[in-house]
Amino acid sequence: MTVLQLERASAAPWGAPLLQSLSLALEAGQVLGLAGPNGAGKSSLLKLIAGDIPLTSGKLLFDGRVREDWPREELARKLAYLPQLSLLNFPYTVEEVIRLGRMPHDTGHTRDGEILQQAMVATDTTDLRQRLYTQLSGGERQRVQLARVFSQIWDTEEGGLLMLDEPTTALDLSHQQLILESVQSLAAKGCAVVLAIHDLNLVAGLADNVAILQSGSIAACGAPSKIFTEQLFREVFAIDVVIQQHPNRSQPLVISR
């Protein structure tokens, strides 16, 4: 089942084109990583998919249908999006923030409570439950926001799509690992995932496919082990790297020279 399909999609919300003629397809249960230098269009692509910036030309299909054909509430039950920055500046408790993720669903207080518990375990936020969001550290806030979007699509059957914009920037190593495992287990349940991420070793271990973006277009797209080459890194990121096989896992390892 193709959850998300882009055909020659372009976007130019402020005149100059941000994204040019992108084509992508994402199956249920697949994880797609977006990488590229600053300003390459990773966040813009996520915003385009999420509907925050409009499509100027091309096609964007969810489950074979364009956005306008989906009722707003139904889309909110299938799609969850975590932007890079959170604006929340009001003293909600952590539990109240995560519960907002269940707003589009009418599964009832008890079921929502169960999902809340599981999403908190998946993000290690159980101990923060009664704390005030405004009093948390940056990494803690990021985990709480992750728990919110996880809970939004926790029990969405086939066809869910999770979009994460740099979800691990403020996290320590063990929490990075925990979040990646949680994303993997959501994908294993059939949820498609798109995530923008700078750490290429992290994305190589997680994503089925990686799209490398450069000035608004896709420079390379495919399995990390196939597309990660020293030449690609020279051309796109302008750095010299060594690419080796990970000693324990079947993934490439990018080491700066």
């Binding site: 003293p91 907002l100 005030l132």
Partner: protein, 360 residues
Amino acid sequence: MQASRHVRAWTIKQAGYHRRRRSRLLLASLAIALPLCILLGLANGAVSLHTKEIFSGISNTLTGSAQDQAALIVGQIRLPRVLLAALMGAILGMSGAAMQGLFRNPLADPSLIGVTAGASLGAALVIVLGGSLLQGYTALTAVSIGAFAGGAVAVVFVYRLATSSSGTSVATMLLAGIAITALAGALGSLLEFYADNAMLRRISLWKMGGMDGANYPRLLVATVVGSVLLLTLPRYSSALNALLLGESEARHLGVNVDSAKVALITWVAVGVGTSVALVGTIAFVGLVVPHIVRMLVGPDHKVLLPASALAGAILLVVADTLSRVVMAPTELPVGIITAIVGVPFFISLLRQRHHYGMQS
């Protein structure tokens, strides 16, 4: 170190575990306190009345039977006035809470969208242009209509300035509101410059706000607008809860952000416009009441909106009662009292704001 850890532990405990219980407790105590304050407002004034006289006065007014002095005071003067104060306070409190949520800014105030300044200009315009033609009851009505029209024009103007093809920007709206407020203020000053002494006195008294124009026709207008507003705004409490995360986040949670924005701005403009038209500008209630309630029970609008309405009603009823009692038989403008009563309470809360997790 020990002390700060203690405070932190206290905060954590207070914030989460007790929030739901505190919400219920606050709503219940406000709901009990409001009728008591109304009773207090009916009993006190230039002439003090007993509870028995108040109730017989109310029942005499309702049945239209024998009118003694107490019945006249209660029925004709105090009852419409106290109820008007309660309704205006409720409208201002709930509107303030809704605006602070919509603008995601605890410092937002219902007057931010330009309605108060526009209404003041409209009122001043009627007072100056009408001059000595306007007397007594018609003058009051004409000034009210001028104020409401001025407020409506200002809000429409601010809204149009902030709306482009990509939707309405709340941030632009805030700035446009400040600009229109400044412009209306300048035009108002220009009018005052050309006004004579009698007009100046009327403009400045009107600006201070007061319930002294209360009568049953005005109470009827306030009741209609107030009950629609107080029933409509809470329907947006989920949307407001999600909007605190950000507009884009709210949209992804299935909220129809654009229609919620238009509805909230329209209702707040109607509510505040009506309140300015009926009782003049009363600052402070719309800004500080929701702030205080949020400090006590957190930002959940399902509690915040009704609690702000109740607390606003209580504050204005008490302030109006004080304005009649403190220097009786002279009445003080109620806006002065709301500030004198509310500010010390607000400052004492601000000094312990870290207990409530407020950062701004």
